[in-house]
């Protein structure tokens, strides 16, 4: 017999795995890492079901957990490359259909403070409204607006300066 817990997680997986995977692919830019995030997330639900206490909707929990997992993975990739003395190559692993914009965004997300990186993912990559982000992050819309503004400024500061003609 399947335990109640694994049956519940199997049901969650059946209903939400595709959206977790789609977002992870978009954020990480490659399928192998996205699969690992998908697996890590649902295995952690099997091992520690208390982390989703039902205080928010399952969808909200999964969006937030996926974002954290992907941002951690992006930062770890950067740290690993730095420790090994490698250069993180933005062209290395991204899916072939992607434009340069998302590749550069990923590079900036690796370096941003966590709250700015989260809001940048929700607002720019997911295209969510301030209200939706406020619900995801558990803060006010005003705070979200402020974070979006700071993330925008941060992103601009990372753009390569135009060459003076």
């Amino acid at each position: 017999m399947q335990s109640r817990r694994s049956a519940q997680v199997a049901d969650m997986y059946r209903r939400h795995a595709a959206s977790v995977y789609r977002r992870a692919c978009a954020l990480l830019g490659n399928e192998a890492d996205a699969r690992e995030v998908l697996q890590d997330l649902f295995v952690s639900l099997l091992e520690r079901p208390e982390q989703f206490a039902g205080g928010s909707s399952l969808q909200t929990f999964l969006y937030s957990a996926t974002t954290h997992a992907c941002l951690n993975r992006l930062r770890n990739q950067r740290n690993r490359a730095r420790l090994l003395g490698e250069r993180t190559d933005p062209e290395e692993k991204h899916a072939p259909h992607e434009g340069d914009a998302l590749v550069h965004v990923r590079e900036v997300l690796r370096q941003m403070p966590n709250d700015l990186a989260q809001v940048a993912v929700y607002y720019f990559v997911d295209g969510l409204s301030h209200q939706e982000i406020a619900e995801l992050m558990g803060c006010s819309r005003r705070r979200v607006g402020n974070l979006v503004e700071r993330a925008t400024v941060w992103g601009r500061s990372q753009e390569e300066p135009c060459s003076a003609q």
């Binding site: 017999m1 399947q2 049956a7 199997a10 209903r15 969808q59 607002y123 990559v125 939706e132």
Partner: protein, 245 residues
């Protein structure tokens, strides 16, 4: 930099998170109806809905079972009593962002009676099934349903040779489904070599009706299924053809 990746949409448009909640069965009937009303007026959201649905269908069709790490979790747990795991057909992994050219968006039917829809995977292509869709052996079908309230659902078929079978659920009784629109069912069906017109009947019931008597009734009468009390019925017809390479 960031603004280059944000998909612009009007403030009333449906976000991906909302679509995901919808397709994940997280919304109630009132919320679904509101989305349906918006979709009837918004081509942008209809297109995005189809994109997300196609990604979900492809994800599911390419990986027809739950992954091993999930199904074997109980067996691996260090509990005193080892348990065998029950395989539930379902989804899996695969399918990066595929922003393919989309077919014309079909009309959205979120009002009215509960009904079935289906997707067809042939080779690498996935498309939404149409009425009297012509199918060949090896095509994989994935069913979805739209229902404004929870039901028990059974999907039966009567093939051209008069043989009845159950596509859903795998068990002996109709299975509980939540309210939702275009909610994909967990398993895909691969078509066999039989040819001819096939009726696919979705029974949306108030109770967990037994499947076997329904199959017997379907086979015996060949044409009309005796609709059990408390059930509404939706019927699709597909045409299975011999494969001509």
């Amino acid at each position: 930099m960031f603004s280059a990746v944000r998909r612009e949409r009007s403030s009333s448009c449906i976000s991906d998170m909302r679509f995901d909640a919808w397709f994940g069965g997280e919304l109630n009937a009132t919320e679904i109806e509101a989305l349906g009303q918006h979709l009837s007026d918004c081509g942008h959201c209809r297109t995005r809905k189809l994109q997300i649905l196609r990604e979900r269908v492809r994800f599911d069709l390419e990986n027809p079972a739950l992954p091993e790490w999930l199904t074997s979790f109980d067996a691996r747990r260090p509990t005193p009593k080892r348990r065998t795991t029950l395989l539930i057909s379902g989804l899996c992994a695969a399918a990066a962002a595929l922003f393919l050219a989309l077919p014309q968006a079909p009309s959205i039917r979120t009002k009215g009676a509960a009904h079935l829809s289906f997707y067809v995977k042939r080779g690498e292509n996935v498309h939404r099934g149409r009425l009297r869709e012509r199918l060949i052996a090896g095509d994989k079908l994935r069913f979805a349903y739209t229902a404004l309230r929870p039901h028990y659902l059974a999907i039966l078929s009567l093939d051209g040779a008069g043989h009845a079978s159950a596509y859903y659920p795998a068990g002996t009784h109709a299975a509980w489904i939540d309210a939702g629109a275009d909610v994909l069912l967990p398993s895909a069906v691969e078509l066999d070599e039989s040819v001819g017109e096939e009726r696919i009947i979705g029974l949306f019931c108030d109770g967990a009706v037994q499947v076997a008597p329904l199959l017997a009734a379907l086979e015996a009468k060949q044409i009309d299924l005796q609709k059990p009390d408390g059930c509404t019925l939706d019927e699709l017809v597909v045409v299975k053809q011999a494969h001509t390479p």
